[in-house]
């Protein structure tokens, strides 16, 4: 049986450690492997000198860890990653290659799939099998719909590729093996990269730490204009809350970047998160869905934010928020 291959990823800021999204991909592959009766193998790309990570991966229930080492693999480049993985995938002959939908994977996976004459199904949130073929669930239209997707007829022997949305599968569901999986060393010969990458860096240090705030009022593009922030500040004051925002609000400079919630901002889990005029794109949800109580105020009943909300008010925020400020003041 051809294996399912998981491409593991090292942590961006701590390359000696695994990106936990790799374990989510292993858990997903193991689950699908049970449906398809296919073994799971994991791939690790590392520079010559590195060590330890392959043994860590081998703790999981895998048929093998494919360990490719080469000096060029010290730092990421799409050219190098794609060329190395073409060699590995060609040798391993998997039916399916699963990758976590990280920034890095988004950068090279479409190139890799295309070079191998294969298709890539991105941002997958669910897996199943129909007649021995994998089926995938993925969001479309910004999460307003989910789609069941499969590969078009493939050339005999060509693998399929899929990337898994971060958080859609549980890292702690990755099964460990009774004994360590064998580690197979693979030789790869990537070409020189056409790209020269600089150091990874952060912009100015964050001045506000929203992770400690017990109550957060978070505002999105539904507030229409920056002058309406005054109304939102009043609401925040009435709740004793910190003010936060979706990305477009910070991109536009209406609030500073360190008040952005989401995959490229802060991740928070307050006891109360009030989302006002926020649609609930996945990149926003990952930053706040762990909140204890979530309230959404949005005029669109189909807005995905309602999928994670405990309390939902479908209505015009410009009517609801003033009424809410009044009710809170009356109640205190």
């Amino acid at each position: 049986m051809r294996p399912i291959l998981v491409i593991a990823e090292r942590k961006l800021t701590a390359p000696g450690r695994l990106n936990p999204a790799s374990l989510e991909a292993i858990a997903a592959a193991q689950e699908l492997g049970r449906h398809l009766q296919a073994p799971v193998q994991a791939v690790l790309l590392e520079a010559e000198a590195a060590g330890g990570l392959a043994a860590e991966l081998a703790q999981y229930q895998l048929e093998a860890v494919l360990h490719a080492r080469h000096a060029a693999l010290a730092a990421y480049s799409p050219d190098v990653w794609t060329a190395a993985l073409v060699q590995i995938v060609t040798a391993a002959q998997p039916s399916l290659v699963l990758l976590p939908h990280t920034y890095q994977v988004r950068d090279f996976a479409p190139q890799l799939a295309t070079r191998m004459g294969a298709g890539l199904i991105s941002d997958v949130i669910g897996l199943s099998a129909a007649q021995g073929e994998p089926r995938f669930l993925r969001p479309m239209f910004q999460g307003k719909f989910a789609a069941e997707v499969g590969f078009a007829a493939r050339q005999e022997g060509a693998p399929g590729f899929a990337t898994l949305q971060i958080g859609a599968f549980r890292a702690d569901a990755a099964a460990r093996g009774a004994s360590p999986a064998p580690i197979r060393d693979l030789a790869v010969t990537p070409p020189a990269s056409r790209l020269q990458a600089g150091e990874v860096f952060q912009e100015a240090k964050q001045a506000v730490d929203l992770t400690q705030a017990p109550v957060i009022v978070s505002v999105g593009r539904g507030i229409k204009e920056p002058k309406n922030l005054d109304l939102m500040r009043e609401l925040a004051a009435a709740l004793g809350a910190e003010l936060a925002a979706s990305r477009p609000i910070c991109d536009a400079g209406w609030l500073p970047m360190d008040r952005q919630i989401g995959s490229s901002g802060q991740t928070v889990a307050p006891k109360l998160y009030l989302a006002v005029g926020i649609s609930g794109a996945i990149q926003h949800l990952v930053g706040m869905k762990g909140s204890r109580t979530i309230v959404a105020i949005n005029k669109d009943p189909e807005a995905p934010i309602f999928e994670v909300a405990d309390y939902g008010i479908v209505g015009d925020l410009f009517a609801v928020v003033p009424a809410l400020i009044e009710a809170l003041r009356a109640a205190s």
Partner: protein, 261 residues
Amino acid sequence: MKILVCLKQVPAKDAPLKLNQAATWIREDVSFETNEPDAFALEAALRLKEAHGGEVVALTLGPARAAQVLREALAKGADRAIHLDAGEAAAGAPPLDAFAIAEAVSRAIAGESYDLILTGLQSDDAGYGQTGVILAELLGAPHATIIMQVEPAGERRIKVKRELESGNFQFVEMPTPAVLTIQSGINKLRYATLMGIKQAKNKPLARMTLEEIGASAGLNRQLVHRLFVPSKSKGTTLISGSAKEQAAALVAHLRNDAHVI
């Protein structure tokens, strides 16, 4: 620099979307607009041209209605436009996937030599997030994704700022021709001026059909079997009534049930 910008027309942000009969795509009787990251890609191209000279060509693939994104791009300052007309069959039939779109674009621009090709990082409809990268691979050009800054870096080279996870960034240099996928918020979008709208009428807008370039949904590498409204994972308590009633009920819930205020 000669810059190609690929733009897609997608349903407007606040359009109430409904599925078609077969539940394979949405019904098309909604309003459409330029995909947001693509608008930022166009803006980035126009700014590069204004600072360093050159030409900006706007391209879209879609049915007749999609030509509107090109007219807007021309009004904002693009020099000319190319419409890969997917025909009316595109309404209802399975749309082209990221691979088929990239293949069509690569065929349409064969013979032209662009220094830079910009796309949005993903579209608000299918959300594949792949078209630009696949196009780069088909053209044999280097690429970089989720770009927050672009500038020339000497003869036939560019320097870009990539957005990486958890607030990290990285500068990357590469030779041109190159393909970049642009992140929303990289710049501030301009509006078309009246003058621009007037001038746009005289700018060239070339049209090619998919048949002419030998592209179709037959090249798709993925099949959408069906779309559906996702089931709610949480039992959301929806609060109805007037704004005043909603506010009072919410405060009561937060105090008495959730105990958070």
